[in-house]
Each structure stands twice: as C-alpha cells, then as structure tokens.
Amino acid sequence: MSETVDIAEQPAAITVSGIDVRRGESNVLHSVSLVAPVGTVTGLLGPSGCGKSTLMRAIVGVQDHVEGRIEVLGKPAGSASLRSLVGYVTQAPSVYADLSVSENLRYFAKIARAGRDRIAEVIDTVGLHGFEDRVTGSLSGGQRSRVSLASALLGSPEVLVLDEPTVGLDPVIRAELWRTFHALADSGTTLLVSSHVMDEAGECDRLLLMREGRMLRDTTPAALREESGEEDLQKAFLAVIESEGS
C-alpha cells in the first residue's frame, strides 16, 4: 500500500487507450482507458457485470472484437511474445478437476517452461501445503482458485491479471494473498486485480472504478477519499457515481 509510489516515475506496464469492446450487437466497454504502472497493485473495482472481466480478457488478448489500442510491456495485447510474460487467472478456477494439485502444476510448469523447484515455491505462496496429492475437484472452491492462481505464478510472469482472486476466501487467507500480491509488486511484478467488494480497494496502490462498461476513475485510494470527502471507500465510490449524475 505504498502511497509513496510516484506514478510519473514508473513506466506503464499496461496501457489501455480508449477501447471499445463489442459483444453481439451491443458494446460492453465504452472508450475505456487505464494505465497500470510497473511494480504496482492496481485494483479494478465495480459491480459484477460492469465489464471488469471483459476488460481483463482484452488485456490478456483473448477477447475478440476489441477496438482501440492496448499495450502490455510495450507490445500489443495478445502478442505471442507476451504469452510467457503475462499470467492470467480467470474468475472460475481454470484447472483440471480430475488431476491432483501437483499434476496440474507439473503440466502448467512444463507449458510455462518453469523448473520443478517453482512448483514447491508456488504451493508455498498460495498456502496449499499438504494438498499436493489431493484431486483438485475434491477441494473447496477457495482452494481450487488458489490452485488456479498457483498455476499462473509458475512462469514468474511480469504482469499478473487476476479476475476476482479472493472471492469466497477465508479472511485470513485473503489477507495472506494480499500480502503476497504486494510482495510480488515489490519485486517488480505488475498486478491488475479485480474485485466487486470495496473493502479490498484500500489494499491497492491504484484504483480503477468501473460501472456499466465505462471507466469512472483512474485514481488512488487517497485521492478518491480526498475527492469525495468520504473516509469509507464504499461511500466514496457511491459519491463518485452520484457526481457523475447517473
């Protein structure tokens, strides 16, 4: 939670410049822009259905019908060379339910060209010790999403895009994960983390507030509090929505 991070001095890891995304007949994102500086945790906040997942999919380059420019580490989103540099965790845990935890990790390690030692490291990072031989489908939802997160960490990506990684998790594990996110950011990783609960907003270096497919604010927790005059970020978000006159 380093308010000390000076954005002007940090190069951008992710730059989205006024993108529109069409799904079917309608646009789900309208002229969305954002900048995520290197080595920061940027929170993408907004109610479910506001377009967070679509925006994240566009950034990792799996979203079709994107109009506008997205650059990740200086390259257009979805470039082949980014595949080993960008880690992506979908909202639903995308791991093989019929494989054990370590079998899942061994497979994704091979694909990400990560060494065997990384498997033990990421198991440690997400706190899944003792679950290595459990079949992933038999784990709880929270444990499964941590297997999914661990799989994305294997390749030590420079950019991590995490779609609601803390949903349904025990508060203790949630706090641990946020510590992990900051540790990763301190080591130079750029994280974009979405959430629909505002109490996680305070954990982020930068805040992106989204609603109905539009970016309302690209700000920091401190600046949001100052702008709205509200200490509570939930109320601050409400104040921003009201000031937009919607």
Binding site: S84, V86, D98, L99, Y107, F108, A112
Partner: protein, 245 residues
C-alpha cells in the same frame, strides 16, 4: 509447436483418464463384450458374424474416441482451461497432437483387446492379418478423435455433445456398407455415403478381412482416411481460437 509441450499435453490427458478407472474399464471391455454378444446373436451363422464382426473390430475405436474427444475438448472449452492454455506459450498443434498421441495410445490398447478377442477367441478371420485390422483401428481412432475435436466446437453442453453420436456417427455406420452393401442401396444413399469418412474406414477394413487381394482401392481408402483426418485436424485447429467473443 514444441515436443515438450506436445508430450506434456499427451501425458496430462492420460493422467486425467487414469483418474477415471471406470472409463478405462469401459474402453477396454465394452467393445470386446459387444463383439461377444454379436457372436452369440449370430449363433451358427459364422458367415454373417464374420462379415459384420471382423470390420467392426476396427470401427469401435473410431466411435468411442469420437465420443470421448468431443466431451473432453468441450470440457476444456467450458471450464476455462483452454482459455488459459491460449494465454500460455503453447501452440495449437501441441494441444491437437497431444490429444492425438494420448488417444492413439488408448486406441491401440483397445484395438489389441478387441482384435485379440475377435480373431483368437471368437474365430473371426482377417485374411490379410489381424495386425492390419489393429493398425487400421488405431488410424480410425485418430480419425474419430479429429472429428470429435471439431464437433466439440459446435456443442455448448455435454448433452449436446453426446447427441452428436446418433446425429453424425449413426448415419455413417448405417450407410458405410457394414449392414447393407452400398451397391444395394438407393443410388442417392450410395452417393451420400461417398461423402462420409466412415465409408472409407469401413471399406479398408472389409478389404483386409476378406480374402480378395487388397488392390488399389485399399490404398485409396487408406489415403482418404489419412486425408480426412488431416483436414479435420486443420479445421479443428481453426476452432481453437486465441480470441473468443
């Protein structure tokens, strides 16, 4: 495409199957059991059993691998694992060939069991060698896999994927010549059967299991099966899209 990613994918698919011993048992036992059933159904009519049973040994793997692949690939699409793979440094060919190797191995086991039972225990005869039937069975399994992979792109749910079996496989089975010689069919159906992959798979098997010399038609059949497999894999690769709506 990298060999390590291809082999890792093949191993992963086999690990998944290994977790499911019931599927393995069904894979190995069902074709042989059905063949045995047919043997008793045609009790005393060895000629008829020979005509249907011998080629059928090489067709079972086609049917079963079609089903298994269409559902396995549908799961990859719906559970998000395919989307994850598409963000990782893995080629589409690694995924396709990974599945091909894994299911090819399973098909080989299945072919050995069903051919062993058919040609040694139940008295079926393959004039040009049971090993050739087994080899064609493996090729047909890869064909079934390639078509199943393609079919999975057109299903949204497992219910739909299962329906592809009666919708696409059963008509091919009925028209391929196994039950009625194609020459005896209405000419329209005979023409239609030329457009069906299974027709060539069956024709090759029928030639291998009957005493007449193989001839150039056999070569055409084999080339057709290989060609259709490659075309289906290429089309399947197109359906493995990095970007989806």
């Amino acid at each position: 495409m990298t060999p390590s990613a291809t082999l890792a994918t093949a191993r992963r698919v086999l690990w998944q199957i290994r977790r499911d011993p019931r599927t393995i048992a069904l894979l190995l036992v069902v074709p042989a059991a059905l063949l045995t059933l047919l043997y008793f159904a045609f009790d005393g009519q060895q000629q008829v059993f020979q005509g249907i049973g011998a080629p059928l040994c090489g067709l079972f793997p086609f049917i079963i691998m079609f089903l298994i692949t269409s559902i396995a690939m549908l799961r990859e699409r719906t559970t998000g694992t395919l989307e994850r793979l598409m963000t990782l440094p893995i080629g589409k060919a690694d995924i396709l060939f990974g599945y091909g190797i894994a299911f090819g191995l399973l098909a080989a086991l299945q072919a050995i069991v069903v051919c062993g039972v058919g040609f040694f225990a139940l008295g079926l005869d393959a004039a040009h060698g049971a090993w050739l039937v087994a080899l064609l069975a493996i090729g047909n399994a890869v064909l079934g896999m390639a078509l199943g992979l393609l079919a999975s792109a057109f299903a949204q749910t497992e219910f739909q994927a299962v329906q592809f079996m009666p919708a696409f496989i059963l008509p091919q089975l009925l028209l391929c010549g196994l039950f009625v010689p194609r020459d005896d069919m209405a000419s329209l159906l005979d023409t239609v059967s030329y457009l069906m992959p299974l027709t060539y798979a069956y024709d090759a098997l029928a030639r291998v299991t009957s005493p007449a010399p193989l001839g150039s038609d056999f070569t055409i059949d084999v080339l057709a099966v290989i060609g259709i497999t490659i075309a289906a894999l290429a089309l399947g690769a197109v359906t493995l899209r990095r970007r989806t709506p």
